[in-house]
């Protein structure tokens, strides 16, 4: 069953992990996708070509680095020029610089917030304007983290930036929901991605043993929650929930 037939989505962070899983889930459910990545990548372009062929949807790679504001604007304008109406925005791309509270530098803090908060907001400003212009309804999903809710040793800048993203989500929702754009955040737990692959083994296994299901989550399981958020209409603002505990 094609659950998103005829919809167009913009997904950031598509090169791998959760973004890649969301891209696949959307394509398999019939959505056209603007697949945003940090940098041009030949293998990704080939993969996208194959996926769009297999699923019979259009997938357009868009390349920009979230650390570069001008590039973010360029990326948004490129999408705007396509003249397609946008139904869904999923902000997956994020950065993580692990450092203990006393060791974290201002430079690391600023970079983390630039990627995980400022650029997310800037990009969402552009894309939701397209949604409003299209006159139709829309949905924005911001990928936060359980570390935003719980805190986590060594993740000061990451956890703070992701907590700020949740607050931004709630405010965006209270402004945009009356205009029929729903805004939600998802807080994944420990998911098997490049980000968690770099965690020291003892920390990762401790986090997994703390989880009730006693296993690491898969990117596809977060994509399942993303798909669900697209399918339901009343969920809003505080609908943000965790995909692990």
């Amino acid at each position: 069953m094609l659950l998103l037939k005829g919809k167009t989505a913009v997904v950031t962070g598509c090169l791998r992990g959760i973004g890649r899983a969301a891209l696949e889930t959307f394509a398999k459910n019939g959505a056209d996708v603007f697949a945003c990545c940090q940098r041009e990548d030949e293998r990704f372009a080939e993969y996208v070509l194959e996926l769009s062929g297999n699923c019979g949807v259009s997938i357009t790679p868009v390349y920009f680095d979230l650390l570069d504001e001008d590039a973010v604007k360029e990326g948004a304008k490129f999408i705007q020029k396509s003249k397609k109406s946008i139904d869904i925005l999923v902000n997956v791309a994020g950065a993580n610089f692990d450092a203990l509270f006393h060791m974290v530098t201002m430079e690391q803090m600023k970079r983390t917030f630039a990627v995980n908060l400022f650029s997310q907001i800037l990009f969402a400003q552009y894309i939701t304007r397209l949604m409003l212009k299209g006159g139709g309804s829309g949905s924005v999903i911001n990928i936060s983290s359980i570390s935003a809710l719980d805190g986590n040793p060594g993740q000061l800048s990451y956890a703070s930036s992701k907590a700020a993203l949740i607050a931004a989500t709630k405010t965006m929702s209270s402004e945009l929901a009356p205009k029929d754009i729903r805004v939600n955040a998802l807080a994944p737990g420990v998911i098997k991605t490049a980000m968690t692959d770099t965690l020291p083994e003892d920390i990762r296994s401790r986090m997994i043993s703390k989880s009730e299901l006693k296993r690491i989550g898969l990117p596809g399981e977060v994509a399942g929650a993303i798909l669900y958020l697209e399918l339901t209409a009343a969920l809003d603002r505080r609908g943000g929930f965790r995909t692990c505990c």
């Binding site: 009356p178 929650a225 603002r237 929930f241």
Partner: protein, 247 residues
């Protein structure tokens, strides 16, 4: 067809959210034990026509949630059916609006009997099936009143808060055995319970929602579908608010 080949038990299916869950689950291929408090020919007929429409099995089952012996009899019947039970949706509930000092002990106890104790017992019975088969999803319909506190909802809200706390403990105990447990907290939803709200309150509430409208039972059912399906395979112990942005 997110629930093809799965079997679900849903309580309180005569109308409202429970009925919508039956419809959504059947449309997604699930076989269903549809519980209602008492037998009625219309209900049985409606369940039969839904089963025909979607090509699934729907078995109406009748018992009062507070009648332990009838609940036990239902569970015994399940054992002899020898089916795997994949999903339990605890939806049946009662509400009495009353200011704190006006709440009688009788209504306080009744709300806890139906909304909490009977749910606790039913989960004890049904989770045994799930643990044995090492899979299952338990979905408890709570309420935003269980998280926020609302005037006139001291007893109802407390009973739903108890459900939320119980769900977290069940998730913690049964997670490693492959069983997930989550709550849905509906906000203001178009059901008979809504009709118990004074219209001034309803209008005011509606305007304070981000989406500026009340939710539909089918929108609660969509979230139940998600939690019942494998789309939510890494989600447990959570309370998902389906509230249109309730402040």
């Amino acid at each position: 067809m997110l629930l093809k080949g799965k079997t679900a038990i849903i309580t309180g299916t005569r109308r409202g959210i429970g009925r919508a869950v039956v419809e959504t689950f059947a449309a997604n291929g699930a076989d269903i034990y549809a519980h209602a408090r008492s037998d009625s020919p219309e209900f049985t007929e409606e369940m039969r026509s839904a089963a025909d429409k979607y090509g699934v099995e729907i078995w109406p089952v009748f018992f009062d949630m507070t009648d332990g012996a009838s609940m036990k009899a239902f569970v015994k019947g399940l054992m002899s059916d020898k089916r795997e039970i994949d999903v339990l949706v605890n939806n049946a509930g009662v509400t009495h609006n009353a200011l704190f000092n006006m709440t009688t002990e009788v209504t306080l106890r009744e709300q806890f009997e139906v909304n909490f104790f009977s749910v606790f017992l039913l989960i004890q019975y049904i989770s045994k099936f799930m643990v044995k088969q090492k899979s299952g999803s338990i979905i408890n319909i709570a309420s935003t009143a269980g998280e926020d506190g609302n005037p006139g909802k001291s007893a109802y809200g407390a009973s739903k808060a108890a459900v939320i706390a119980m769900t977290k403990s069940i998730a913690a105990e049964l997670g490693e055995l492959g069983v997930r447990a989550n709550c849905i907290a509906p906000g203001v939803t178009e059901t008979d319970m809504l009709a118990t709200l004074p219209s001034v309150v309803l209008e005011e509430t509606k305007n304070s929602l981000d989406l500026r409208r009340v939710g539909l039972p089918s929108e609660i059912a969509d979230t139940a579908l998600f939690l019942a399906s494998d789309l939510s395979s890494y989600i447990t112990g959570q309370t998902i608010r389906v509230d249109g942005g309730l402040k």
